[in-house]
Amino acid sequence: MSKTNQPTLQGISSNKTKLRISAIFIIIVGFYLFTSIKTESSLLDLWNGKNGFINIAQSLFPPHWSYASTVMPQLIETLHMAIIATTVAALISIPISLLSAANLFPNPFIHQPVRFIMNVLRTIPDILLALIFVGIFGVGVFPGIMALIIFSLGLLAKLLYETIESIDMNPIEAIRASGGNTLQVITYAVMPQVLPQFVSFGLYVFEVNVRASLVLGFVGAGGIGLLLNQQVSWANYPNVMTIIIIIFISVVIIDYISNKIRERLI
């Protein structure tokens, strides 16, 4: 900023701003051109790529409805994985989020390490976790559930400790002043304040887990993804379409129910 602000008329925004915006714009677009060449992304390829999207789109119809009976058990398995993982993650995340809340445990040697671990967990893609667990426990739903638990733990713990840090501290002081111990402070002064949000976040993480569990089967970690991967590689497109429609409908229904419950909670 210059100290003297002489009002010289030079258009609505100053030359400096214009220059900066143009520079940013050029960088963004230039980098885009560079990246699209690097990643060989040309939209034309969508039409005349290997099989051509239009060709595939046509062969998706009509869906093969009788295949649905094969898909349903896998879909249910997927949901069960999400249910178990969300439940376990929710239970574990309660003590963890309490420990990472700076207002309850002001000692940074307690809350900082816990937060750090949770931050790291959140950056690891769930499917990569699944791959590692498949390597350890063999294929099946167990590694999938483990991967979902670890990933959602990081997410849930963060949402929860941020909620805990925003609570009213007055009742906590009152319970402490009347001789309550830490556990009593938590059950009487913290929990009532955060419970609705806890449940709401639990449901949200369930939605996230449902989406995540749909694809775990790609790496042998259970659920509907196995079928989808198979049918695509066999180019059995009517079956693929059936799976996609089933996935779509179930995700929409689950999101709808979960949203309705969350709206009533808060």
């Binding site: 885009y32 699209s36 099989n51 249910i83 099946g140 167990f142």
Partner: protein, 267 residues
Amino acid sequence: MTEFTLPPKPKKTPWQKMRPYIIGIILLAIYIWTFTSIEIRWSRVFSQHTIESLTRVIPQLFSPDWSAFGKVMGLMWETLLMAYTGTLMAAILAIPFGFFAARNMVRNKFLNTASKWALNAIRAFPELVLALMFVAAVGPRPFAGVIAIAIGSIGMLGKLYSEVIESIDMNVVEALEANGANKLQVLVYGIIPQIIPEFLSYAIYRFEIDVRASTILGIIGAGGIGTLITIATTNRNWSEVGLILLVIIVVVTLIDIISAQIRKRLV
């Protein structure tokens, strides 16, 4: 002391009285159904095999194979490029969706609802499912991943954009219209200045998500570092997986930090 009873609780409607039980029964039913039908092969989970893998995999994961560093960084770079291309495509293509879905811009209920539904429909699919489709369509290369990222991001950005547009100050728009500005002028002087910072902020936020998403697209052949993950895990080369893990954690964390800084300055 005489026998003491608290006064009766206030009368509840039958529904209020039953509600906790109904919720309890539903939850119980869901859990019974889940735990009785899930097929976890405990014999495999707690087998000799597992113990062997644990003792082999875990130590290797924590001793990254630095000789693969160049290769891993190269593919991580490709991953970032994919995310960038996909996010930028989406950031632009989502604009019309956002306008169509915004009730204060397009006063046509049918168009509003249709575009909202389209955006919701896109968000129902995980990126990896989209990517699988595009790998089938355009072959196993980064482009498939880019398209999957772009489409997935349009779902979220379109929705956020429409919310931004619906929250703008319409008085400015009306004032310009009253001054006789045409539609394009209203857009350029009245609307765009109000929405640009938030649009950018959301696009950058979405870039964070897309970086995470693109790290795994390679697992199904859609380019990026995921390609290497598949190879390394099938070869049981866990120290290379360890390095990939480390690189992903560091890069994703850095991008989150930078992006948060930029977004803070924008709004």
